[in-house]
Symmetry: C2
DNA sequence: TACCCTATTGGACTAAGGTCCAATTTACAC
DNA sequence: GTGTAAATTGGACCTTAGTCCAATAGGGTA
């Protein structure tokens, strides 16, 4: 059983806004951390104890909110973003949404609106986290495969028979059976069906004939 | 080989805008059709010869652009939407993007911007179409399965052995083999690996143990 | 009632997958 | 040079999967 505590980050250069938001969000039983700039947020070590979201002011001195969003896309984090802004415009909001923001709220906004956006953002983050976790676990197993085993895995998930794989690899059917057995063992799967699903989850594709 | 001609629909109540857009988009070698209202567009029989997108004015008398978008989400069409607007606001653009719009352009916009959005929209539509097509084909096969065969399919893609499936269904292993053979034949697959992939594409899930 | 579809099973095989033990070869690191 | 990991193969066996032919039984329709 893994602990999973959601957290809401706030990044805004206006301290009164930070305090107001912090009070509001804490009242909704969320853990909160505030930052006065994008740079300050980037300093923080990645949060790993649960899903997270960032309530982010679009316009700030230094790195802007939009810039920060782009930074965060690079480092693959599960933190979902909600923008708030006093002086936004349509192209800005559209760009933010295209880049995966959960919401974009012009001030003044309804408190309920923000809280509902936060809930959606946390759910999205949680979803991403779970997927990432699963993929990471599978990749750990994949990394224990030798090159030949990996190659073999790809042919197996293509649905080929051992004898066909053998001829592809230029070895005997016997050898393929051994590799295949080791693949199943290392991947901790009991059936080809499971193997196909695992492979799919971490983007391993069957070779083209 | 299937013909695939992209088309761009335009829905705007202002006829001068329609004409201007039509000229522009035709100059980019796209087939174009124009509509003076959302209702008029809904009248049109669904376009099936290729990918399509809709350049849509947000504000129109009668059904608005946003309303039309919601309508189109219901009827599952592959038509992707690009909004254009003279008097939009942020919440409107955010809502449109949340609902899957490819872009949201306030007037006046750069012609290149619109054309690039159209290209992205057509690509997206094409992608959706291809997925839908594939799913439809698979579903045709699935629909030829008898209830028992379908049940059997779900157990097979869970990776279970024939004897295990047999005990789940309360029949002999022999019977499972027969069903299973028919499933493979009807689904036109030669391996469990392929079967798993097909099932996944049309949302068939393995039963929980 | 005759007919068809579905579901079920048996017999008799054939082929494919998987495992245990053992051995050889090669490449690369210490 | 010795050791280790990877790749390869053989033999012997057992388990699964898949197929052909044949047969029975129940439900529903023309």
């Amino acid at each position: 059983m893994k602990i999973s505590i959601p957290i809401v980050f706030i990044a805004d250069d206006d301290s009164s806004v930070r305090k107001g938001l912090e009070r509001l969000i804490k009242s909704a039983e969320f853990k909160v951390e505030t930052f006065a700039s994008a740079e300050e947020f980037l300093q923080r070590k990645p949060y790993r104890s649960g899903p997270s979201c960032l309530v982010l002011d679009v316009r700030m001195p230094g790195l802007s909110g939009i810039d920060l969003q782009k930074e965060l896309i690079q480092k693959d984090t599960s933190t979902s973003i909600i923008f708030i802004t006093g002086h936004g415009n349509i192209p800005m909001s559209v760009e933010a949404m295209k880049n995966g923001a959960v919401d974009f709220l012009p001030k003044p906004f309804d408190e309920k609106e923000l809280l509902s956006a936060i809930i959606r953002a946390i759910e999205k983050s949680d979803h991403i986290r779970k997927n990432d976790d699963e993929r990471a676990k599978i990749n750990c197993r994949v990394n224990t495969l030798t090159p030949r085993e990996y190659e073999c895995l790809r042919w197996v998930i293509s649905g080929m028979l051992n004898k066909q794989i053998a001829s592809k690899l230029g070895v005997t059917e016997k050898t393929v059976k051994v590799h295949r057995g080791r693949v199943m063992h290392k991947m901790q799967t009991a059936s080809v069906a499971e193997l196909v699903r695992l492979a799919q989850k971490c983007g391993i594709t069957p070779p083209k004939k």
